[in-house]
Symmetry: D3
Subunit: 253 residues, 6 copies
Amino acid sequence: MRENRLRKIWQEGGTAVNGWLHVPSSFSAEVMAHSGWDSLTIDMQHGPVDYGSLVPMLQAISTTDTVPVVRVPWNDPGLIMRVLDAGCYAVICPMINTREEAEAFVGACCYPPEGYRSYGPYRASLYGGRDYTDHANETVVTMAMIETHEALENLEQILAVPGLDAIFVGPSDLGQSLGHGPGMDRDEPAVVEAIEVVLAAAREHGLAAGIFTGSPEYASRMAGKGFQFVTISSDARLMASAAASAISTFESE
Amino acid sequence: MRENRLRKIWQEGGTAVNGWLHVPSSFSAEVMAHSGWDSLTIDMQHGPVDYGSLVPMLQAISTTDTVPVVRVPWNDPGLIMRVLDAGCYAVICPMINTREEAEAFVGACCYPPEGYRSYGPYRASLYGGRDYTDHANETVVTMAMIETHEALENLEQILAVPGLDAIFVGPSDLGQSLGHGPGMDRDEPAVVEAIEVVLAAAREHGLAAGIFTGSPEYASRMAGKGFQFVTISSDARLMASAAASAISTFESE
Amino acid sequence: MRENRLRKIWQEGGTAVNGWLHVPSSFSAEVMAHSGWDSLTIDMQHGPVDYGSLVPMLQAISTTDTVPVVRVPWNDPGLIMRVLDAGCYAVICPMINTREEAEAFVGACCYPPEGYRSYGPYRASLYGGRDYTDHANETVVTMAMIETHEALENLEQILAVPGLDAIFVGPSDLGQSLGHGPGMDRDEPAVVEAIEVVLAAAREHGLAAGIFTGSPEYASRMAGKGFQFVTISSDARLMASAAASAISTFESE
Amino acid sequence: MRENRLRKIWQEGGTAVNGWLHVPSSFSAEVMAHSGWDSLTIDMQHGPVDYGSLVPMLQAISTTDTVPVVRVPWNDPGLIMRVLDAGCYAVICPMINTREEAEAFVGACCYPPEGYRSYGPYRASLYGGRDYTDHANETVVTMAMIETHEALENLEQILAVPGLDAIFVGPSDLGQSLGHGPGMDRDEPAVVEAIEVVLAAAREHGLAAGIFTGSPEYASRMAGKGFQFVTISSDARLMASAAASAISTFESE
Amino acid sequence: MRENRLRKIWQEGGTAVNGWLHVPSSFSAEVMAHSGWDSLTIDMQHGPVDYGSLVPMLQAISTTDTVPVVRVPWNDPGLIMRVLDAGCYAVICPMINTREEAEAFVGACCYPPEGYRSYGPYRASLYGGRDYTDHANETVVTMAMIETHEALENLEQILAVPGLDAIFVGPSDLGQSLGHGPGMDRDEPAVVEAIEVVLAAAREHGLAAGIFTGSPEYASRMAGKGFQFVTISSDARLMASAAASAISTFESE
Amino acid sequence: MRENRLRKIWQEGGTAVNGWLHVPSSFSAEVMAHSGWDSLTIDMQHGPVDYGSLVPMLQAISTTDTVPVVRVPWNDPGLIMRVLDAGCYAVICPMINTREEAEAFVGACCYPPEGYRSYGPYRASLYGGRDYTDHANETVVTMAMIETHEALENLEQILAVPGLDAIFVGPSDLGQSLGHGPGMDRDEPAVVEAIEVVLAAAREHGLAAGIFTGSPEYASRMAGKGFQFVTISSDARLMASAAASAISTFESE
């Protein structure tokens, strides 16, 4: 089975630089896949990507060795299994607030006896190889989003769920849950502290920690702290910023 | 009928800053439409946009006052009429090399007696207004691409075609045709001279001149020379550059 | 943030005339958006619209000031959040039968602390404005469908849920649940009485009441009774009726 | 091979009532196919239908015995052959102004030796039957649009082209070409006279005559005059009119 | 209402030969519908079909008298109702492990009072007929997948749920759940025995039994044992096998 | 630039086994790309593939080292350039009957000075590499279909066009043009002789010869005769045959 480079990067102590895809187009996905990201996450939660556009986007990413990741919109076993069948190598699940939710999420990602994933890797076996089923459970990465006050309270129990590989911090939701509003690169002490608590606990449990950031500078600081999966901005935001910057430069010349 | 802001900008002696769309997605089109461009050109020639994706992209642009422009893949009257029916306010036609080609292009854009456009503005009248038909001929902008040696030779005849509103320089094709290879922001004397010849001739005939550029700095220089329609990069290139730059910044921190 | 005209109409004591979209096409959505409706509801429950077609339809509606509404297929928080992120200004949720269901629905529509909506208004902030997040909770309208015997029994508890803005009567399901079969413009005393009970209770709780109707005449009667949101027929039914009528007229001439 | 009911209706001296499809949706096409039209024309010229949406629309029509017709955007042999391969039973070609254009059009619709249609009826043989190729030339209907002053001048030569089955009058383009502007149900004497000339000439040559109308009343008058193929309005127009009428009725009650 | 031929085949003691669709294309669906299957199941669980592609595929199947079946990805009432509204005549639900799950599934398929299906058969009434609602509950077939150890333990309770019409054995998931790994045409005694237990129990309760197979030979054996619904391979597997076989034959000649 | 394996196979004296794609799905394209074909041709002439589905199909093929080929529907320079920009490595053009047509075709495939292809390899440079433009003219393969009586008469002139790399025999159209009807694996002496004349002439001019066949056996015979590019059946035909065969085997057991 094709190796999951995320696991390799993490085992070597490195940090994966992850791009984020909101534009539901296999062409822009392929452009991003040629831009140097270690992995690309297709966001089905807060972007216009649905299952119909997901599959061509995964195919586009598969023309390179960028690792394909999907964020599902919700902890829904049917959809989690479908994105895995489509050939993604990591699943990010939002709003994991309790041990039970973490168990349900991880179980949906694993074939029996470790979980209850249903069999039918229609594209995953094209991408991963004919022996996909034999190695899927230990190859696919499961990432639970820690982004609420409730999750912080249940952090130890969530991190202890067998088969959970990583956590992913959502700074906007976490900030809102803590009463500080949305936003990316946080510096409010309470939010920063919460992020550090999550990071420390994840590392203690041997899990990789990931975080969404709005800039390479902040991402670099997070990597320095020990985050091993840093997302920088998104396709649409990068494009919009670059467009605004180009127009502004034009006008100021 | 809704005004064509391109004409207004030109009448006031200004330069329209034009964005370029290759990604066949109405979402990325809407993001670009909120980024400050005066107009956005959907490129059906060298991008993956087909007619099925064109219409939602035009609708997305129509949620703002950005002027919708389409570059057609070829001087094909059937398709030219279709993109006009879909509600674009300017058409860029590639490879106009002779007076006859220019006449065929302009004729396809105009209702009789000025041209031979067929009647059926199914979406154009939603966008432009119920009186679309009465004013379409003088509102819609026709732009002929001047991008070959042959076009340079026939320049005067092309520019003299009644109803032609503007020309648009394609630096890559022009450079190739002149034996200097493709590329955006040209500085080879022969290519620069050709560009200036086209600009001067266009202005003499009272036509607006446009050009494709790869950077706001070059675009600004071109505006300074008298170009009134400058395209800067494209959605996909802006995104790819911004992505590469973010990764590079991350890695160098 | 862009105003929600539904709220304004209701505050002024008026009745919003709502169109209903089943055809999964941004073109027909735009045609309907130019036809004079105060709001248009895209029906993801009983029509062929999926998330992939929803976004272009919302964009098409956004070219006008018609208020975009979505009926979700089920009380599914992941999807409810996604349709809000896509920029709709009201959500209709079917089959709200208990207080718990109403709370789950409303919570999915509101950011903390009022609810548990996750942050990521990727298109909503394009449509609503950059300050979308600040005002979304009090701008977006939540409408719970009251359409079963169980919901009638729990009516008071449902209506008392904080953050619920309106109810919407589904006459077919309500009729079936009460043993009278499906159908639009009901005149069975038991069904009529149930509808009036719902209306009265809603008004008592300060909620707007909506209803699906099959004709402008019945809609007008309902508005007269106090309904402030009346849906008349649907795009597909209007088209089919008009087609049948045209053919019939042709044949009888 | 499945019979072409258009031919049967014409042979019996009847008039086919034809619906017109602009909405690029197989669902609305199926709704229209159940509404009683003898045939349905998918308009690729002045509507947002492209080849990707054409095939599902033809399939939707094929669930009924409504005859599938396609209007191509231009006299383009590649596309004409493709819409035939997709299984339509009649092709309407716009802007046939000369004998040569009529010959090119008819030739693209017929297999050798009658024409130069290329072989590959990938869906036509599913719809028409395994013996499609044997009978296609005499089953498929070719309709040339007569809609310009030039076509009127060349009328006899056009009508004499072997294999041409019918003509179709486009009142808007014809009116514009004659200097009277666009519009459906014409009553300007010059336009009416031109229409009658076309009708008389078509009948003399044994060809069926068709016309686009805006109302069943006008269609009925045209049928009375001898037109055997009358189009009434379109899906989008029927829907928009019915919507406006419903809103108006609601407001006036 | 249009008859459900699956019920007829079963009442006559026959076995329905079912094809399986993974390719999200209405064209390949129509090709398969002309290939001789009694029914075709569109697989939304382990294939790339989403709701947007489902509707045109159902329309394509509806051009023939092949019975349209859908396997939903999960026991999700909102989606189950939507596939029924789209006009399928049987629903296969995966992973039915308890009586409660079976009841929820069957309830979602039936209108009150038998179930809680919401009313709105937008396409089902085009396909089934105007009296669809009157007969839907007894026409539509509900098939529960028995594919886990837990389901075997609760078999009697599941089979006793009123309104459940059939069961469907998933050999891969069942094999995995029993510790024998995935695979189609099982011969491990423990798996074979489990399959036979399910078959016998289903027949005893008067339910039809179905099974997924990888070859016509195995399917034939299963039919011989009493299975009345046998799936043979899938569109994608049949194509891939035939391709590999053609290449192999070419190379060996 | 990525090598064109077709050229390599031909230079080594081998025969490329080519698969044929009619199903407009990137999933089935990827399945075929994993089935062992040397190249896969996406057929835009006699299949339902349009430009919108072409790009994802090319991406799917690009996940493997199968060579991507496109048959365009007609000798249309705009579309030919677009399929090249999308990243195909060979173009098959139907109905090349004269030297002028061959020159127009080849010119559209080559950048100046060899041809008049416009610059903008938006995806071709992702697939082929950043130096795509430098080597495209000698890497991309041009194949002209010889399939009419007229082409046979002009054979020498067609084959002499500089830059033409290969010819492709269409047996159905050739058979029809010669008065023998359509069909794949021809044995009528006149058709066989014509095919051999084309083969011999192509080899004499140093061009590769290709042919469409209906079976691996016939393909093998053609390879034995000297054809270096043999197409065997198509995705849809392979699937339909395998389905019919499975059902037949089931029924006969």
